[in-house]
């Protein structure tokens, strides 16, 4: 597990031509890790019939102000480690 709960991470940009579980609306945005979930096969691999990488999945919280330029809510999204970079 590379990242610590409470730390900030940035979601990688990019628009892969294969299945992925990174919602478009968080790509390139920075959020805070609120929990480390399990270590699970990366869906990008499983969807293509590849032997999957197994990685930690994190629950990451983003502010509406950051995502949409307004709003007072937060959105928490579960993202696999290879979807992330240090900010």
């Amino acid at each position: 597990m590379t990242y610590q709960v409470g730390s900030r991470v940035r979601v990688r940009t990019g628009d892969p031509d294969h299945h992925t579980r990174v919602p478009r609306y968080v790509r390139g945005h920075t959020g805070e890790i609120v929990a480390a979930l399990g270590r699970w096969p990366v869906p990008d691999d499983s969807a293509r019939g590849l032997p999957p990488r197994v990685e930690t999945c994190y629950a990451i919280r983003f502010s509406a102000a950051d995502l949409w330029g307004g709003g007072d809510h937060t959105v928490t999204v579960d993202l696999w480690e290879s979807y992330l970079d240090r900010p």
Binding site: W40, A59, W68, H73, T74, V75, V77
Partner: protein, 196 residues
Amino acid sequence: MTGHEDLPAAARARRLEERLIAAGLTSDDEIDDFLTRLYANASPVNGARMAARAWTDPAYRALLLTDGNAAASQFGFTVAPPADGGYQLRVVANTEQVHNVIVCTLCSCYPVSLLGPSPGWYKSFAYRSRTVREPRAVLAEFGVTLPDTTRISVWDSTSEARYLVLPARPAGTGALGEDQLTALVTRNGLIGTALV
């Protein structure tokens, strides 16, 4: 020649079933049995019972919020871990400060074993697209108005985790037994689109 795409969906579905049955990959009995079990076992009463227990038993509440799968298994509900084809249950508690709402923007993932099959609105493009962007407006369409001081926390179910809301226990219910409390917890309350 008419392609099969022109058939009404029901006929297309039956044609596909017949093809798969002929290939030995399933049977009518298997499909029927699956649906019988689904309707018998998967219901929002399951989630409601867990919420009512959490309201009356602090130790259960603590377990529910830290290990949802273990909490579900105490009632005998089927929540296998992701490695066994199930999901990781994560329960998020509503408070005066925070109201939680669950969505799956990518496809409509949903904790079926604890809520039953998902309602049409949960699967709609409108719910999937708008809840992460304007949750207050979406909640208003469900007749839910929250104080400005309450922060809305939206959870997008993008992984093997499935989310359930633990509603806040309504005021004035101190004398009610667990069965009566269970009856207060609605499916929409467990998703976050209703207050209970």
